[in-house]
């Protein structure tokens, strides 16, 4: 389980300090797919980066299972990132000098755990995400959708506990977006992984079990799907966003 408790984060630009997160608390249960929505500047990406420990929080706690991430030293944190977390970024963050398959294998290579079954798993992920035909191509030679599916496959290679995704469908067409969401659903259903996705896209968010809406650095509202069908849940999301605009 991921537990975020009273998280604060501010940035300093020149002499001014901007408080971006003002005490955010939330939880993500094992096997849950959670989206974070909110207008620009509400703190979504900052929240994601703090949970990933890409940027240090000012105060508050982030618990992954029983582990307080902020208390880990550099080496242990790198190990958590490598073994227990998977990342999907809006601009894919693929390395141009490596093929699709090598990019997928990269987290395993960094962790020093490339074995025959890891390679088999990479091939299997290629099949699942329909990128087997391009697995020996380089990122410059494939489409945006293929790049993002490669990034999702990379996030899953080490069978992580928690997948963190920052606007994973932001640069994709609807077909590719659907494939990415399907991949997350599969990771949740098959691996029991937690998925924490930051998005602007109400369509993508409507596939989630829960949607947390941030506004001005605080949790403004949390919507649970509770077995509702997807279109109805999307309508609720849109209503909530409209309400936020009215306030």
């Amino acid at each position: 389980m991921l537990t975020v408790q009273d998280l604060h984060k501010s940035y300093r630009v020149g002499k001014r300090t901007y408080e971006v997160l003002k005490g955010v608390s939330l939880t993500v249960e094992q096997g849950q797919f959670v989206a974070v929505m909110g207008p620009s500047g509400s703190g979504k990406t900052t929240l994601l980066n703090c949970i990933s420990c890409y940027i240090p929080a000012d105060s508050g706690s982030i618990l992954l299972g029983d582990t307080e991430l902020a208390r880990l030293d550099e080496g242990a944190l790198a190990q958590v990132r490598n073994r227990q977390l998977g990342f999907v970024f809006q601009d894919f963050l693929l390395l141009d000098g490596l093929t699709v398959r090598e990019n997928i294998l990269l987290p395993a290579i960094l962790g020093g755990q490339v074995q025959t079954q890891t390679e088999a798993r990479a091939d299997q992920l290629c099949d699942v995400f329909e990128i087997a035909a391009i697995r020996d191509k380089y990122p410059a030679e494939i489409s945006g959708g293929e790049k993002q599916r490669t990034a999702v496959a990379r996030a899953l290679i080490n069978q992580p506990l928690l997948i963190l995704a920052d606007e994973p469908t932001g640069n994709l067409d609807s077909r590719s977006s659907r494939a990415v969401i399907a991949a997350f659903e599969q990771a949740r259903d098959v691996l029991g992984a937690m998925i924490f996705m930051v998005t602007h896209d109400s369509f993508a968010a409507s596939f989630c079990d829960r949607v947390v809406i941030l506004r001005d650095g605080i949790v403004w509202r949390t919507l649970e799907k509770d077995g509702q069908d997807r279109p109805a849940f999307q309508d609720r999301l849109l209503d909530a966003i409209r309400d936020m605009g009215k306030e």
Binding site: Y54, I55, Q79, N82, R83, F87, L106, I109, L110, R154
Partner: protein
């Protein structure tokens, strides 16, 4: 591929261009510095450049500029490399690589890169200097003292620079991995570096600071000497040049950020101006380095035209073709012997005159120096008998020059050069004259100075005074001056050479002395310090060139022998040979600095092209016509070349003009003509740089697919 090392290796191969650029920059910088220092510390060069002399100071000053330039250049290249590399570094960190893991790989490749590039540069620096020198010897001039020898200790300087480059690479590498915000690391490579809003007054303030710094830096050392009687350490007075550097930076910043052209083509140039603006600090720093190096290169390349012009003019302006003097105790060729020799060489002597001179003691003030913690201070001490000068009688002066001078008993006249200058070496203010053999002294009154290039630095006495004052002088205190003309001077080279050799062959060891060696000052120094620094046995330890009859064709001998004859045809024909080491050294320095400028401009322009390639792709997609894209790309490359070229050239001209003026608070004709020749040279070099600009523009266009 199953290990992190293999991934690193693959990415290195993928980005080999980036590695090649960094390695090339490091290699080039170390190569340049090694070549320069090998030459600067070469015994061949040191033997000719007197210690503490202007030439040696100039060589050192340009070396400091070259070191600073190369240090900034390599630091910039490394910064660019790690900025581009930060994308993959950030991804590795984001995916769970530990910093230790990354540092290990980075250290391995930096070790190979720095040892390879710097090592090769240090290894090839001296051979490069040697090859260039041999090219000079083969194509321009070759003299016996041009045999190039290297001092192994020079490698110490080169190694120190290589160590700096290596340490800087490791420091920057370690810093690039050590940052805490991983997303910052990832996005570092995409960040532009905007120049913060630059007020328009930066341009004018920059010019004011530049002028003030240049003026202060030049004038403060003399001010300290004259007003405070203090030879301030060079490092301290160099601080006064700092406003010039700050001013130059502000000037370039304004030029890059605002431009000087007003808002006339605001929209036409919007793409190129904004791109250039967002390359920011790096562009300005590069331009600063290029400007400083260009200024150094021009300073070195002006040496030959300035020296050539002034020497040619002064040789041409001599009132007679042949002049030499010698001590009366020396058995040198004169009169009929010279005429017979001339006849043997088919040379007709049209005018011949020989007149006696005498070496008498004079009073004067001497700077007595005291070493202190803040440098050397001095105080002026009056000596009734300070040094010796050569004196002529009125009639001898008339015989030699054809001019009459009327002096009353008790009067004497100092002889300045033909332009009325004391050349900073002869004050001509003696008021008491002493016959050192009899010990008798006379108080004298100075009248208006006379002017003559070949008798510069001597005094003229009333005939009766001359007879009285020189009575009892032994031959070693008496001299003879010989002037003569020949019918066709230009074709008398062989005669001139033979006469010069005969004069040297017949001169005794007692006159094998350095130019400013003085028998009276010698006694004072020996009494006060125990030795005289101009005695032959102390010349080397005093950092001065040696004087040796066996080396009569060397620059050292011809420039510094006290009794060196002045034969117009010999000096004209052998000018390049005599000055060979000086000329070639400064040409070498100019070539090295210009090469550095070209490499930096080329690298920077291509980097801008590589960085902006996606923008040009977008512009093309938006339908921008090829002509527009070409103009925009050319504008950026042009700015990289044009701004430093204009700034560096103007800067050095202004500085050079100031130096020439403050030499004697006026411009002489030879200085004006020298500046004209320097201008012609600058035009030629600028044309060469324009050629490089065209080549670079073509390469940039190729990268941008234009």
């Amino acid at each position: 591929m199953d290990s992190f090392s293999a991934v690193y290796d693959r990415l290195r191969r993928h980005n080999r261009g980036r590695y090649a650029l960094l390695a090339g920059c490091c290699f080039f910088s170390v190569l340049l510095i090694t070549a320069y220092v090998s030459m600067m510390r070469s015994p061949t060069i040191l033997a000719v450049l007197p210690e503490g002399g202007d030439s040696r100071k100039q060589v050192m000053m340009i070396f400091v500029l070259a070191v600073l330039g190369c240090a900034v250049f390599t630091t910039y290249a490394a910064g660019l490399f790690f900025r581009q590399k930060s994308w993959e570094t950030g991804i590795f960190l984001a995916l769970g690589a530990s910093r230790r893991q990354l540092k290990r790989e980075l250290r391995k490749e930096l070790a190979v890169l720095s040892i390879g590039a710097c090592g090769l540069g240090a290894l090839l620096g001296a051979p490069l200097a040697w090859c260039l020198w041999q090219v000079f010897r083969a194509l321009v001039v070759d003299t016996q003292e041009m045999g190039l020898r290297f001092d192994p200790q020079a490698m110490g300087y080169a190694l120190a620079f290589a160590v700096y480059v290596t340490a800087m690479l490791f420091f920057q590498g370690s810093r690039s991995v050590g940052r805490t915000d991983i997303m910052d690391v990832v996005h570092e490579s995409h960040k532009s570096e905007p120049v913060r809003a630059v007020p328009r007054w930066y341009g004018w303030l920059g010019i004011v600071l530049l002028a003030a710094g240049g003026f202060l830096g030049y004038i403060v050392p003399s001010f300290c000497v004259q007003v405070f009687h203090w030879y301030a350490p060079g490092g301290l007075t160099a601080i006064f040049y700092l406003p010039a550097l700050v001013g130059l930076y502000m000037l370039l910043l304004h030029t890059v950020a605002n431009g000087w052209g007003g808002r006339r083509h605001r929209y036409r140039d919007i793409i190129s101006v904004s791109m250039m603006k967002f390359q920011g600090r790096q562009t300005v720093r590069n331009m600063l380095v290029m400007t400083v190096l260009l200024a150094g290169a021009y300073f070195a390349s002006f040496y030959a035209p300035m020296l050539g012009t002034s020497s040619t003019m002064s040789i041409d302006a001599r009132p007679v073709d042949y002049a030499y003097h010698f001590r009366a105790d020396q058995d040198l060729p004169v009169g009929d012997e010279v005429r017979d020799m001339a006849e043997d060489y088919g040379v007709e002597i049209t005018f011949y005159v020989q007149a006696p001179m005498a070496r008498l003691g004079v009073d004067g003030e001497r700077q007595v120096e005291t070493e202190g913690p803040l440098g050397t201070t001095w105080e002026s001490v009056y000596y009734k008998l300070l040094q010796s000068e050569l004196f002529l009688s009125e009639s001898a002066y008339r015989a030699l020059t054809g001019n009459t001078v009327e002096l009353e008993p008790g009067e004497m006249a100092a002889i300045l050069d033909a332009t009325g200058s004391n050349q900073g070496v002869f004050d001509g203010t003696a008021t008491q004259v002493t016959n050192v053999c009899t010990g008798e002294s006379w108080d004298m009154t100075l009248t208006e100075s006379l002017r003559h290039d070949l008798l510069f630095g001597h005094y003229v006495l009333d005939d009766a005074d001359f007879t009285a004052m020189t009575a009892g002088l032994s031959d070693e205190w008496r001299e003879e001056m010989v002037f003569f003309n020949v019918r066709d001077c230009a074709s008398s080279y062989e005669f001139a050479k033979a006469l010069f050799h005969r004069i040297v062959d017949r001169s005794g060891p007692e006159v094998e002395q350095f130019d400013s060696w003085d028998p009276i000052l010698r006694e004072i120094e020996r009494k006060e310090q125990g030795y005289y620094f101009l005695d032959r046995e102390h010349l080397q330890e005093s950092g001065l060139p040696g004087i040796d009859y066996e080396q009569r064709d060397s620059s050292e001998f011809r420039l510094y022998w006290q009794y060196m004859p002045k034969f117009r045809v010999l000096d004209q024909a052998d000018f390049v040979k005599t000055m060979a080491v000086f000329l070639m050294l400064f040409i070498f320095i100019a070539i090295v600095c210009f090469a550095a400028v070209v490499v930096i401009a080329f690298t920077r322009s291509l980097t801008i092209a590589i960085t902006n390639r996606p923008v040009y792709d977008d512009l093309r997609r938006m339908g921008a016509p090829a002509a527009y894209l070409n103009r925009s790309a050319a504008s950026q490359v042009r700015r990289v070349f044009l701004v430093p070229t204009v700034a560096g050239t103007s800067l050095i001209f202004a500085f050079y003009t100031m130096i020439l003026y403050f030499n004697d608070n006026r411009f002489t004709l030879s200085e004006v003509l020298g500046l004209r020749n320097c201008l012609a040279l600058a035009v030629l070099i600028s044309l060469g740089l324009y050629g490089v600009y065209r080549l670079t523009r073509r390469s940039a266009a190729k990268i941008l697919g234009l």
